[in-house]
Symmetry: C2
Subunit: 197 residues, 2 copies
């Protein structure tokens, strides 16, 4: 029993350290020997904790994806205006990323190294997530809250670009905390979409 628990937490140590390495060097350039060295063990020993290098990547990508889905589902369940919904969606997305900036960076930059059929599943989940944000924007256009002059695809991709690069530059030790960051980002993006500021 305590052995199982200890194995689990050691596995998580491996995954967390791998996330740091993947973020820093990129998945393809990060070797299992690098990872083992960081953990103070031999490369072969990693395989008593994980099945393969890609299993680590899968676990990082799909765990993050699940968090994003959960956050968005809660946002959608509230009966509020489209601008409010969009704002909450942005704040939620930022909060999820802020909980694990390293995994978020890997999620964003390294998912393409997933093999099939995982890559396909991942991309389907992502397009679904993006489309749900697009729906919120479309609702806002219909309700008159947002300009109808702007291209919806451009709007939603700009939104995602802004959100997804955050883990690359945000310093968690900075004066601005994740909630403030989300609020300011939402303000900058939503007010840019609104008809009247």
């Amino acid at each position: 029993m305590s052995e199982a628990i200890s194995n689990l937490s050691r596995k998580e140590q491996v995954i967390r350290k791998a996330a740091e390495l993947f973020k820093e060097k990129g998945y393809a350039a990060a070797s299992m020997r690098d990872l083992a060295h960081l953990l103070g063990i031999e490369a072969a020993s990693l395989y008593s904790h994980i099945k393969s290098k890609e299993e680590i990547l899968r676990s990082l990508c799909f765990d993050m994806a699940a968090e994003f889905q959960k956050s968005l589902a809660e946002v959608e369940s509230k009966n509020v205006t489209a601008s409010e919904k969009l704002r909450n969606g942005i704040i939620g997305h930022i909060q999820v990323m802020a909980k694990d900036l390293t995994a978020s960076a890997v999620f964003m930059n390294e998912h393409r190294h997933l093999s099939q059929p995982y890559l396909r599943d991942f991309l389907l989940m992502r397009i679904n997530y993006i489309n749900r944000f697009k729906s919120i924007i479309e609702q806002g256009v219909k309700s008159g809250e947002f300009k109808d002059s702007i291209d919806k695809k451009l709007a939603v991709m700009t939104l995602f670009s802004s959100l997804n690069w955050m883990p690359m530059w945000y310093d968690p030790g900075s004066a601005i905390d994740p909630l403030q960051l989300g609020l300011q980002l939402a303000d900058m993006l939503v007010n840019g979409l609104k008809k009247n500021a």
Copy 2:
């Protein structure tokens, strides 16, 4: 003479094809054998055109960097308001990227695989470029064109995130052309910064 010209253009063929490959698989996961195969030659033959794999990456990254610098320098030379300057900067950045979406994607995603001292030089150029955009935003805050409530680092990083992800999703065959794209992006971002819309 014609041999030199032919070598030059063959070298450029190699670099362009490499850009496509680097964009698709990532620099580290793209092998010189992949590249050779795409060109219909043997891997060893590549080395009569280029010195090394990294030379290709350097050429892609620094050529794009030079284009960005040139575009921004021209924007800065015009004596206009900060919002106009920012708008022109965004349009210029988008136009430069649109001229070579593949190289732009490599510039953005693969520059970290540059070795020293090239990586350092690259990052210094980038921070300089970003800081010049930041100055424009600061001018706009001082002149009262932009809100002073927003964090300047957040604003400029959001701006760059939006710009730099464009090569990942923009379809050059789409109805919206690069100039329209630049205008709409500038509208979405600048009006989000402006005090009064």
